[in-house]
Symmetry: C2
Subunit: 151 residues, 2 copies
């Protein structure tokens, strides 16, 4: 005779729920970015960072948007070949690569951001939570997870 199973419900298991929701959101967003602008989610994150932060090098961006540095490197190649950004070697430390949006890149960000915001609003509408609440709850959890050791 085998021992009794302890109770468990995958459908309400929080890590599973996050995984399912994240995958769904990601798929929808990826389709949006791809269909209308021909870029990937990684490329989108990089464009946004160049537009809205002072992260200028692969290293800075890598830490900021939590992408593998290989992934950043490859995405940057794409973006450069499409004329959305330029690469320039730093004058004082020639290991560093300075990235800069081109006008076309900035233009694309201008068009993309409203769509991205609209998408987020639609998600928030599906929840009873206020969007600002949701954002701050998630920001809090993000911070907790990246700091502390879990288990």
């Amino acid at each position: 005779m085998t021992q009794d199973l302890p109770g468990f419900d995958l459908e309400h298991y929080v890590p599973y729920q996050f995984s399912v929701i994240s995958a769904q959101l990601s798929a929808n967003l990826a389709a949006l970015y791809r269909d209308r602008f021909g870029i990937s989610v990684a490329e989108w994150r990089i464009l946004v960072n160049l537009a809205y932060s002072d992260s200028r090098t692969v290293r800075d961006i890598q830490q900021r948007v939590r992408l593998d540095k290989a992934k950043v490197s490859r995405a940057v190649v794409q973006l450069e070949s499409r004329g959305l950004l330029t690469k320039e070697i730093d004058g004082t430390d020639r290991r560093l690569l300075h990235l800069e949006l081109t006008d076309a890149g900035r233009q694309m960000v201008c068009e993309l951001v409203p769509l991205a915001n609209k998408f987020q609003d639609q998600v928030a509408q599906k929840l009873s939570l206020d969007i600002a609440d949701l954002q701050s709850q998630l920001a809090h959890l993000m911070k907790e997870l990246s700091d502390g050791e879990t288990l």
Copy 2:
């Protein structure tokens, strides 16, 4: 002169937040499952489903835990080779494959579930939300996303 950028903050962009949190949780859980039991997250989901639902075939499991059917198929090969489940062809529809936990499989689930629950509790502690609240909010969003068209 380029047009002004509309406001945007990636760090508080909900789909991005979900992606980061999900990746972090997933990495932690994957390490837990791998180190202590030598199984993957996909294998874990399959074990749990066999233990707690009446999903018995690859098709049922595929829909229930939202895994690609190829992924289920490959994970099942692994689980069978480790003696955690058995495959048996359905008597009346020989396309169907009935899966069944072995005693060893059930035993592993018994040991894993408390760890998984503990992990979830630690996550919930990091939020001000009650865990039941969190679960039901997420369940609601999951449902909304899988139903309606988004954008």
